[in-house]
Every structure is written in C-alpha cells, then in structure tokens.
C-alpha cells in the first residue's frame, strides 16, 4: 500500500477541464451519429446485395469479408494518408473518421440485417407475392418491417462499438473527446485522472445506448410473448 501514498490525486483538474470535455463530446457525438446513420443505410444495401444471386451477391460477400476484417486504426491510416495521396483529396480528420466507421460498421450491420431478413418465414414472401405484391412491395411492406424488429436490438448494440471506436480518430487530430483528453493530459501531466475521467464518460455513453437496446428488445418482442 505504501506505493499508493507517494501519489497524490488531484481531481480538480478534471473540473477545470469541463469545457474541453464538452467540446470533445459534441464532436464525438457528431462523428458517432453520422456514422450510425450512414452505416444503417449502407449496411442494408450491402445485405440486399449479399443475398442477391450471381456477381452482385459475390460483391456483397467480398465487401463484408474485407471491410469487417480491418481495424479502425488501419482504416483511418489508409484513408487519411494512403488514399488521400492517390486520389489527391484532402479529407479532414472528422470526415475520414466518419468514412472509416461507416465502412467498418456497414459490413457488420449487413450481417445483422441478413440474419434478420433470413429469419422471416419464406411463406410470408410467397403469400405476399401470390396476393399480387411485387418483389419490392413485398420487401417494403411485409418482410422489412418484421426483419427490422428482429435486427434493431443488435443494430443498437453495434452503436456502442461505434462510440468506442470513434476514440481512434484522435490519432489523426480530430478534436474529439479523446483528443481533448490527450491535450489536457499533456497540459496538466495528470494521465491517471484524465484517462479515468474519459473512461467514465465513454462508459456512461455506452451504458445509455446499451440500456436503450435492452428496452427496445423488450418492447419490440412484447407481441411475441
């Protein structure tokens, strides 16, 4: 225990840094929310492509396998430094982060959508078709509304990963929550206090979203009970 005594904690630096945290949280939330919206849409498109026969199905499969395998850090390095040079485009760190998070998570979400769509009894599709609904009509009015209910809790759980992964954008200088924290650490030289505080902030955001997932699950499955 003696080794603890040599360190005197100073939590006041955290309270002094609240405005920085606020600014950081705003950017983290912006990155997270936009990535969620884009990957929800792109994920559905990929899921539909993946289930299509022929070459489109193959492209969907390859998309999921490749884009799921990369880590966010590697994505960001590749997009922000590598691709930017080749394509001659200058992505800002926030955009690079959003693109990276979207590519990674759309691959995960595609698999969630696919599992949900495949869980719908094929008889439903056949019945809808025999009633004269078109392929698109069947999907939009019969299959998707049911699949959506099955997929939603898992999708929301995926949101928690997006929140956590977004911290990596700090490495290319987006002034998100993590970046603000790292700057405060170098200012005050208080790594323990700051990293503990930021861990708590991320934890709170994740727990709120996870709670939402649990509630949604209960609510959406009430009719099945």
């Amino acid at each position: 225990m003696t080794m603890f005594l040599t360190y005197s904690f100073d939590w006041s630096v955290i309270w002094k840094s609240v405005p920085f945290f606020e600014r950081g949280i705003a950017i983290t939330l912006r990155i997270t929310v936009l990535s969620i919206i884009f990957s929800l849409v792109l994920g559905l498109v990929v899921a539909l492509a993946r289930m299509a026969p022929g070459p489109i199905g193959l492209i969907g499969f390859a998309y999921v396998q490749v884009f799921r395998a990369l880590s966010l850090y590697v994505y960001i390095l590749f997009l922000y430094f590598g691709l930017a040079l080749v394509l001659g485009i200058d992505l800002d760190p926030v955009t690079a982060g959003i693109v990276a998070l979207t590519l990674l998570n759309s691959a995960y979400m595609a698999e969630i959508y696919r599992a949900a769509i495949q869980a719908i009894d094929p008889g439903q599709r056949e019945a809808a078709r025999s009633l004269g609904l078109g392929t698109v009509g069947t999907f939009v009015t019969v299959v998707f509304p049911q699949a959506w209910r099955i997929a939603l809790p898992s999708l929301v759980n995926q949101f928690t990963d997006i929140i956590k992964d977004s911290a990596v954008v700090a490495l290319i200088g987006a002034s998100d929550l993590m970046h603000q924290t790292i700057e405060r650490v170098s200012f005050y030289q208080r790594p323990f206090e700051f990293y503990t505080a930021v861990a708590v902030i991320y934890l709170v955001m994740v727990v709120i979203v996870a709670q939402l997932a649990t509630r949604l699950e209960k609510r959406l499955q009430r009719h099945l009970a």
Binding site: M3, Y7, S71, Y75, L77, L87, Y195, L203
Partner: protein, 224 residues
C-alpha cells in the same frame, strides 16, 4: 482516371517483406497472449458471477460493464500512463498492451463463459456432487468440458476482435506492422503502399483465423 496520376511503387513493401512479416507476428503473439490471459480472467470471473453469492457476483457484473464500455485506446493509455504514474511502475509498452488487451478482452470472455456455464443443466452439477465429486472436480471433469464446446465459436470471434484491436499497439510504440508502416511513411512518404500492405495482411490474417474458428467449431460439434 484520377488513379493514373499516381504510380504506386510496391518495392517499398516487397523489399521489406521480412520486416512486415515480423511486425505482423508481433501483432499475432501480443494479441494471442492478451487473449489467453483474458480467457483465464474471464473464466474465473464467470465462475464468481454464476456462484450465486452476491458479494462475488455484483463486483463481477460491474467489472464486465466497465471493461466492455471503455474503448481499448483509452484502456491502453490508462494502463501505460495512468496506472504507471499512480503505482510508480514503468510498464514496458509490450506489458501495457498485453494488460490492456487482457482487461478489455476479459469483459467479453466473462460473458461468453457465463453463457457457456449457464447452458449446462443444473442437474449435472447435482448429479456429480451426489456421486461424491467435489465442486472443483465437478467443474474440471463434468461442467467445463461441456461448456468448452459452447464457448469456442464466440471466443474465436473475441480473439479476432482483440487481434484487430491489437493493431493499436503502435500508439505506445510497440514495434508491430503498423508501427513499421508509420515509420516508412514518415521517412519515405509512401503512405499508399505501406498502409495498403498493412490492410492486406490484416484481411488475410483475419480470414485465416475465421477459417480456423470455423474448422474448430465443426470438429467440436456433437453429432445429432
């Protein structure tokens, strides 16, 4: 075509394939060690959690929530700079990375082992106890071998997740393949070639690990 403006020079990578292989190997073994420790901690924690004694199960529950809720990047810096500062211990960057992976990983492995142990019928424990096996022996000979089959597929996915997370290790200067790529980028300014190489290595390794998990899963499946 915009692509035509840039002519990639892959020799930057191919001339150094050995260094890239060595860097990738660092990612693999650090991730594997972190995963192994995460499994040990997770199993112990899951046994505490399912013990039904709230003095154990409540802290164990909180532990899982915290470890799963904190980003790995935060965990790495917290261990390497924060804990080191408070305890006055200087972890090597390897040690800090392995500890961070163990902490984050054990949040996931605890839940997997808990589900695995929970899937074993209560009657098995009761039967084994009633024929005179001790609690420890019941776990070792009856419960764990059955739970093992259930936990392998999700554990495999956790390993792949940790392996991907391990690519962050260069942020505390562990010389893995990303560290190498960053260095080459700074000195030779070839971001496209080196980061493409890293991405390709990562995709291939994750693909290989997925196949291994799949094969293991099939072999362990009980014929029905």
């Amino acid at each position: 075509m915009i692509f035509l403006d840039y002519v990639p020079d892959w020799s930057v990578v191919t001339d150094r394939w050995r260094q890239f292989a060595e860097g990738a190997w660092v990612d693999v073994w650090v991730a594997a060690l972190g995963f192994g420790l995460a499994c040990a901690v997770g199993l112990a924690n899951a046994i505490l959690r399912t013990s039904g004694v709230s003095v154990f199960s409540v802290p164990s529950f909180l532990y899982v929530q915290v470890m799963r809720g904190v980003p790995l990047y935060v965990m790495i810096l917290w261990v390497y700079f924060g804990i080191a500062n408070v305890l006055g211990i200087n972890f090597t960057s390897f040690q800090a990375m392995i500890i961070a992976l163990t902490l984050t990983g054990s949040g996931y492995t605890t839940e997997i082992f808990r589900a695995g142990l929970g899937a074993i019928d209560r009657g098995q424990m009761e039967a084994a106890r009633s024929i005179g096996l001790s609690r420890a022996r019941t776990y070792a000979h009856v419960i764990l071998p059955q739970a093992f089959r259930i936990v392998v597929p999700p554990l495999g996915n956790t390993f792949i997740g940790l392996f991907k997370g391990a690519t962050l290790m260069s942020v505390i200067a562990v010389p893995d393949m990303v560290f190498l790529a960053n260095e080459l980028n700074v000195t030779l300014f070839t971001p496209f070639e080196v980061f493409t190489a890293v991405a390709v290595i990562l995709v291939v390794l994750v693909f290989v690990f997925s196949i291994l998990v799949y094969v293991l899963e099939r072999r362990l499946r009980i014929a029905t």
